[in-house]
Symmetry: C2
Subunit: 311 residues, 2 copies
Amino acid sequence: MKIITKAEIEKILPTLDPIPAIEQGFVEYSQGKCNIPPVGELIMETGDIHIKYGCINKQDFYVIKIASGFFDTGENGPMTSDGMMMVFSQKTGAVLAILHDECLLTDIRTAIAGTISAKYLAPKNVTAIGIVGTGVQARLQAEYLKSVTDCKKIIVWGRSPEKLVEFRNDMRAKGYDVTATMEIEELCNNANLIVTTTPATEPLIMASHVKPGTHITAMGSDTPDKQELDTALLALADIVVADSISQCQLRGEINMALKAGTITNDKVVELGDIIASGVGRTNDQQITIADLTGVAVQDIKIAEAVYLASL
Amino acid sequence: MKIITKAEIEKILPTLDPIPAIEQGFVEYSQGKCNIPPVGELIMETGDIHIKYGCINKQDFYVIKIASGFFDTGENGPMTSDGMMMVFSQKTGAVLAILHDECLLTDIRTAIAGTISAKYLAPKNVTAIGIVGTGVQARLQAEYLKSVTDCKKIIVWGRSPEKLVEFRNDMRAKGYDVTATMEIEELCNNANLIVTTTPATEPLIMASHVKPGTHITAMGSDTPDKQELDTALLALADIVVADSISQCQLRGEINMALKAGTITNDKVVELGDIIASGVGRTNDQQITIADLTGVAVQDIKIAEAVYLASL
């Protein structure tokens, strides 16, 4: 049993490209080749943990991820997260490695799902990347888009002026041309590849804000109550993609639009089917939306990739 | 994050007495102080894994146990098991230790539940210990009874003469006076403290076999289909104890007797309530039965005890 620390994972990550593996995972997921039981939960007064696990049938490994979020009034500040991914042999059951990533790999695999969505759905000519939100995912989503577009122009929206300035400074230091705005309309007018990364529970982007030829990846809403997009926007969209149709029927933007009756189930396409067909956006005027709620196959694939690279 | 190997656990175990902690755990379980979600399962062609987890509310730790059983056609023989228990802080969520016990602690905590049952239910004067089965638990259950009785006389029943001889030789080497039999009636005539440890799916011990003044701990049947005791024997018994009433209604001997209609729910008492009241067997003529299906609180308590002893 090998222990791989976060510091070691940070050294391994630049040496590998997990994007093809995660694309393959989405395809296998949509083809029904994955065995992914319901998420386990332990809810305590001080915090809660989630256990996500599963495998792709007849492959080498299975993976168990344990992630915790705790409200700590002590020196660690208001909230602490911890997490690990465990890689086991599907042949013998033996534990091969514990990747004590402290949630880093979850952040990365989430950003990569955004990259993959943009690869198939973003317009050819990206005028600016619109980032809604200023947190960890806001930064990672922007950075991971480098494999899909050369565009270095970011327009970022946030509610907090302090966090907007911080985001702008950080991303400028990484070579991006960043404009900060507190008007979502300004972001929608200027960007045609938009990623929403907030925990909002009321729509931020309305149907009237969005120009033809825009792609939006909505990755902030991952529960039945969170919402970043107007349900009318999903009706307006030419293509609506779910990372997991069954999961998006219960949580995220698609769940909201289905409940509101603005779309029906037959409008929704699964990301793995888009990847397998190679056909996403078909012209520059389409409005496309990818609703990402996070699927365990992403955890399986990134854990495998890091484990194999560590050998 | 500390890793404690099986070899280290084997060194720690003789230095601690986890029985009081596990007794306390059963009491807390029966008092509704435990938070134990449903067991997680991943069933693969090559084997399967079970994830048991939970905590006692407002205490220091929570525990996650991962156990696997795999059919391996390779050099490891027909079946390989692996397992680990992870101890986390209930205050911060951080992982404190991984006890890579390879299922040893599950075996020990299971044996200890038998010890605790015997402590409250066995007759004062044990004439002989009857062990039904010849495997790992058959040995451990016998050995762990040393804290409850000075009786060193064992009568063991099994289907395989080879395994009976092996058990007899092994336990004689440990100082026991062992008789082997292939007749269950002979075991029931001679022993008044009986432990059944087989994966039988048809009753082995019938109501007619059992003398007044006998205690039986039935720990082999832990699924809806396994059965070691005649359902009429549960009707005959003066006291029927479940480690977990809710679980025993769905699996094990009590489940069988309820389905057969030989007993009703109001006959069943929970082990933690027996421990809390201190009142088990009240005279030497009673027939008592403890049905043990295994409860996550046992895992929590033994993992905590080993972790604390490792500090």
